[in-house]
Symmetry: C2
Subunit: 166 residues, 2 copies
């Protein structure tokens, strides 16, 4: 397994993650679409993941909760666009502690002679400060990605009716 | 009504559209969420729009078709994240002639003393060429936005089962 590469340029509302796995493409795909496998690897490492729903099909929705050692629970949900395949898993992603800050993710899996190169691209209009001039490149303040699994707000303080898909 | 301003920077996978309307915020909001009003203004001007479904609520889906003078039909669909309000309408947008090239749109409406400033931000991971160095800014080739209502491919040439939400 190779190191994870993360590209997040200041002023560009997109995060690109790549990682090569020593596993065939079909298995890496299953790890992303079978909820029984998903809960075994989905981070952060110190949280426990429980899947409420994972309909990996065109128009299907998903929701999972992550719980920390203090019992705080963080909910996430989204919807798939198109039937997921190793050529593309397209889905939305919303952390229920920051409703409205949605991102859109595309996962593609490329065969590398029996190994698999995973590439995840996340984009969000929530990071919609006006584009910065090129002279501002290098600043570290303009990309607060809503796609990051933040743990700053537990799932208790807002209305489930509005923000979850139950 | 003021002129429309469109911001689409090369290398940044985001399009920002702003326009001020001589109408109160609630009416501009209704024009975006009531399908009977939507079909009266949604462009392009020479196409006829028919709404199949427009569930303007958290988790609700929408689909409409646009038909040109030759009878070619172009389908679009998406899903709402969160209950739409003048503070934010968050939805996905997919042109069925380019399945998988989804974008995410946020519409906000700001009161301007009885007038309304509309701001639409669209972002897409489909425009995921690696970020270009600042020296490449100014090129016009790097932002082919999937959020643009393209008419290059009619809706006939692909499987409805895979790409539409019926």
């Amino acid at each position: 397994m190779s190191k994870t590469a993360i590209t997040a340029e200041p002023g560009i509302p997109m995060v690109i993650v790549t990682r090569e796995f020593d596993a065939p493409r079909d298995l890496v795909f299953r790890a992303h679409t079978d909820p029984d496998l998903l809960v075994q690897w989905l981070g952060p490492r110190d949280l426990t993941t429980a899947v409420d729903r994972y309909e990996a099909r065109n128009g299907g929705t998903w929701r999972y909760r992550q719980t920390d050692a203090d019992g705080n629970t963080y909910g996430f949900h989204g919807v798939f666009h198109g039937d997921p395949s190793p050529d593309g898993i397209v889905q939305t992603f919303e952390f229920e502690g920051a409703p409205g800050h949605v991102c859109l993710q595309t996962v593609t899996l490329a065969d590398r002679g029996g190994r698999t190169l995973l590439r995840t691209v996340s984009a969000s209009p929530a990071a919609s400060a006006p584009p910065r001039p090129s002279s501002a490149l290098g600043s570290s303040t303009s990309t607060s990605s809503p796609c990051t699994r933040s743990r700053s707000a537990p799932a208790d303080g807002y209305s489930p009716a509005r923000t979850t898909w139950s």
